[in-house]
Symmetry: C2
Subunit: 237 residues, 2 copies
DNA sequence: ATCGATCACACTGCCGACAATCGACAATGA
DNA sequence: TCATTGTCGATTGTCGGCAGTGTGATCGAT
């Protein structure tokens, strides 16, 4: 979470609408508002102590970003992500992450390299003890650091939006799970490619990583629908 | 333009907000609302015969999509695209278009191939007589047809949004210009790659096409800032 | 004449209220 | 008993209004 959510009452520097938007986004990410839930305007506005106006504006913004869906005269609902759309997003994300790898390979600094190396080593340790709770934030930071390093605001925003949207898909059930060691092997490969400053190699490695994650998710879904227990080495980023 | 803009008065099937959003988007694309212009709420609401509420919601949506910028207590302004951001967008667009090429290469149909071939031939003729007015719509349709053929809604929407946003950058001054023959040579290359059903080759060709367009634009800008007349073979898609 | 402070205007931010619409439940008829 | 229709409650769509803020103009002082 970037800076979390402000107090909503104290911050008058920022518009009430954008504060509400952040708040709603938080509630959705939190899980309090689950996919498919309707966002009741009256209920939410009384809860936040505002009128419906700014709340509706916040909702429109969330709609444009793809986090909720608006049905006329019925209300707005938290977006439900189907399998097809999740796969679509993986493809787009792969292309964007590949681009990130390409760009970063060309502007690689020793400092960033050290940072990323540390993260991969940390994940290695976490994977060894199958500690997902420790692995997850490191993994998040690893991807974030790479994308941010591109310094391409358009790319950064787009990528973040897709990742957030992806979290609307069966929240944690599939993103979690095993496959840590496998995933981190790909991280090491990406790191190696970045260190070599080879744009083509880096792009391929980054793209492949997302592609593999997609396949792991697809496999996990197949297992699930087949009634089997998801394999321990299933979906991991 | 997809289906253009509805009448705004007759269509009660769709929400007033989304109708206003389309209307504003049209005015921006039209040029009536130029980059940097402020969108006066009162003026626009009286013009469309609505209250400020739905208008503000439409503006929030446009803000989320990146077409306008909101400054608290000052108003919303049509987004002004700087050179840096335009270059950023080209990079992202290149990655997305490359992905489109990869996907389409794998699901290429004879029908689509025929359609694209016809378009390239049409552009070839238009380029021969340096007829930009005829070239432009064919070029637009060529790109649109490829992206649509992916059937990846996420990709399609994202790509379209970027293209629209790009149009906010010196509207026509740089997108127009010569380079038709050069550009169409790249189209032929893309087409050949698609026809061969080779994903890697298609991705590379598509990505390179956008990359070249970026370079043509950058060169045109350099010429412009150097005071020279933009070269006749400057920026073309 | 230029610069700074004061003031008024225009506009945005936010709110409460009214009207339109949809879904659910009950009543009616076959 | 089931399908159909009428009614009611809840919720959204839209509007006009008031308060706060920023901008530009006016006026005065140096």
């Amino acid at each position: 979470m970037e800076d979390g959510r402000g107090d909503l009452a104290i911050l008058k520097t920022v518009s009430l609408t954008s504060a509400l938007e952040k708040e709603l986004e938080f509630l959705i990410a939190e899980g309090e508002l689950a996919p498919g839930d309707r966002l009741n305007e009256i209920q939410l506005s009384t809860r936040f102590g505002t009128s419906r106006g700014p709340l509706r504006e916040a909702m429109r913004s969330l709609e444009a970003k793809g986090f909720v869906e608006v049905v006329r005269n019925r209300g707005v609902f938290v977006k439900q992500l189907g399998v097809e759309e999740a796969l679509e997003i993986y493809d787009v994300r792969g292309a964007l992450f590949g681009l990130a790898g390409r760009i970063v390979a060309q502007k690689m600094t020793d400092q960033l390299l050290a940072h990323l190396t540390g993260l991969v080593e940390g994940m290695e340790a976490a994977a060894a003890e199958r500690n997902f709770e420790r692995y997850y934030p490191l993994n998040l930071e690893f991807h974030r650091a790479i994308v941010d390093a591109t310094e391409n605001r358009t790319l950064i925003n787009e990528y973040r939006r897709l990742v957030k949207k992806m979290h609307l898909f069966r929240a944690k059930s599939l993103v979690q799970g095993g496959g840590l060691a496998v995933s981190n092997r790909e991280h090491a490969e990406m790191l190696s490619a970045l260190a070599s400053r080879d744009p083509d190699r880096a792009q391929a490695a980054h793209w492949r990583h997302v592609e593999q994650a997609k396949h792991r998710m697809a496999a996990a879904i197949d297992d699930e629908t087949a009634g089997r227990q998801p394999a321990p080495d299933a979906a991991a980023e």
